[in-house]
């Protein structure tokens, strides 16, 4: 008998966060991530931990910022338009260097769009919707199990580098149920970690802020953030390459990568050799690994549930070594494996 439990993505990510020692959750409801906030509203208070349904997304992310500045393990979750509202504080958090985990269960956009699964926030997550030079770590899980494992680990990564970490899922991942193996429960992670704001009695005061007015201070800080992200790139970049022998390489992340896996199986039955390159961190993007993998292919196909966002990173990585084609499915919809199969046959001419 399997020890796995059947859980919806939203609930499973929430449970993984609690098991990672989450001390505080601050959020505001929005479809398709509602089960997330709902799950937290039951389970955080039951453990005597902080749960706040804020009056807006702007309030929620600023509560995260404030609580994170004390060194406690905290998070929020939302969906695309809600995440858009949070961008100012996310920029502040990157500037002030505080750890937190932010989950975006993407829906169709722009604007309120619709509630279907989408990958339209790739640019928002990897380029930053807030002001200034900053980058975050962005994980793009493609199964509920992977979402659980990455989220559980994301809190440690966030603490290690003092940086917000994004979990970028979509409506399909959030709403889908799959059997998952849940990780061990850690104790609640509270405390100032040696840098947080915990009252200055008996020690020098500390400042956690993004404002740096002294001459040359911000310039140095900007370059420090760059070197920090170089270390992150070196140590934390993750990807999956499904095969070693292929003519066509499909680059896809999250839910579209799953669809591509089915297409690859269908193509194999028809004697066409295709493999999947799946960035697990879309920021830092696995440029070097993709460049290497693309060399073995005759063509690369980028498949995304948007109008072509990761496409740019793939082109940067491939550097014209082989032709890169694109198929997109925006608007809160997903393509079928058959559509990818047909596109690849067409590419093979």
């Amino acid at each position: 008998m399997s020890k796995k439990v059947l859980m919806k993505g939203n609930e499973a990510i929430a449970e993984a966060s609690i098991r990672a020692g989450l001390a505080g959750y601050f959020g505001y409801p929005i479809t398709p991530q509602n089960e997330f906030t709902s799950y937290m509203s039951y389970h955080m208070p039951a453990k005597g931990r902080a749960f706040v349904q804020a009056e807006s997304e702007v309030a929620a992310i600023n509560m995260v910022y404030g609580a994170a500045a004390t060194g406690c393990r905290v998070m929020t979750s939302s969906s695309s338009p809600g995440i858009a509202l949070m961008q100012e504080a996310i920029s502040y958090m990157c500037g002030a260097e505080v750890p937190a985990v932010i989950v975006n269960i993407m829906r169709g956009g722009p604007g309120l769009g619709n509630i279907g699964p989408s990958q339209g926030d790739y640019n928002q997550a990897t380029r930053g919707g807030g002001n200034g030079d900053y980058k975050m770590i962005v994980y793009a899980p493609s199964t509920v199990q992977e979402a659980v494992d990455l989220t559980y680990n994301a809190f440690d990564v966030a603490d290690k580098y003092k940086i917000p970490v994004f979990i970028l899922g979509d409506g399909a991942l959030g709403q889908m149920a799959e059997p998952v193996l849940l990780p061990e429960e850690k104790p609640e992670m509270k405390g100032d970690q040696g840098w947080g704001l915990s009252g200055a009695k008996g020690r020098d005061p500390r400042a956690v802020m993004s404002l740096r007015l002294a001459e040359g201070e911000l310039r140095k800080h900007n370059w420090d953030l760059v070197s920090k992200f170089e270390k992150i790139t070196e140590a934390e970049t993750k990807y999956e390459l499904t095969d070693t022998d292929y003519d066509v390489l499909i680059a896809a992340f999250g839910t579209s990568a799953r669809v591509a896996k089915t297409a690859i199986r269908q193509l194999k039955e028809q004697g066409i050799k295709a493999a999947l390159f799946r960035p697990i961190t879309i920021c830092p993007f696995p440029y070097a690994a993709l460049a290497e993998a693309a060399k073995k292919a005759k063509k690369v196909l980028v498949a995304e549930m948007n109008t072509g966002q990761m496409l740019f990173d793939v082109k940067v990585a491939v550097e014209g070594a082989v032709p890169v084609e694109f198929m997109g499915c925006p608007g809160g919809e997903s393509f079928s494996p058959e559509e990818i199969t047909a596109k690849i046959k067409e590419m093979q001419g």
Binding site: M1, S2, L6, G116, G171, A177, E178, R258, K261, E338
Partner: protein, 182 residues
């Protein structure tokens, strides 16, 4: 092995729970499974549907465009999904609400169960979904009736555990009373 199915009906008929029931059995047996619901405005009184994929291999897409199995509990869902079934698919219809004379596909095997009526005779119309699952198990050979029955305590929330015997009867009735339509 790969089992790709769609379940559809009105919101409130227990379509999503029916899909969850299959997912629980599959998970219990150590198989891979994805259950993906329609979660839009449609679940509020309109049509509701979910796709369930079960396999011993890694499951790629949770989205099923051409299902091999179906469980259809109302007419709008039948009209929507009849054209989408793949050749050789098997689908169970609740003939309480789906008119069997609307069947036009000859390359799909349709089976009928008057699930609504059977459930009402059992004393609770809400178990019509379980009658349908019983029928789908018989038609697909996916799991045995016993494998389904032992999973009822996990599939039903604790507040409904007094209804386990009734659900067991519903599964069993569906399993035995399913009839081929075309």
């Amino acid at each position: 092995m790969i089992f790709e199915s769609v379940m559809a009906g009105f919101g409130g008929q227990g379509i999503l729970s029916a899909g969850m029931m299959l997912a629980h059995i599959a998970s219990h047996k150590g198989l891979n499974v994805t259950w993906f619901p329609s979660y839009g405005a449609e679940q509020r009184g309109g049509t509701a549907n979910c796709t369930v994929v079960i396999s011993d291999l890694e499951i790629g897409s949770p989205i099923v465009t051409a299902p091999a199995y179906g469980l259809i509990m109302n007419m709008p869902s039948f009209n929507k999904f009849q054209p989408r079934f793949r050749k050789g698919a098997k689908a169970v219809l609740d003939t309480t609400l789906v008119d069997p004379s609307a069947v036009t596909r000859t390359d799909v095997e349709f089976y009928g169960l008057s699930a609504g009526d059977i459930a009402r005779d059992l004393g609770n119309v809400k178990v019509a979904n379980m009658v349908m699952i019983g029928g789908l198990l018989a038609v697909s050979g996916l799991f045995t009736l016993d494998e389904a029955v032992i999973e009822l305590p996990n599939a039903l929330s604790k507040k409904h555990h007094d209804l386990i015997p009734l659900n067991e009867q519903a599964l069993s009735k569906g399993f035995s009373e399913i009839k081929k339509i075309n």
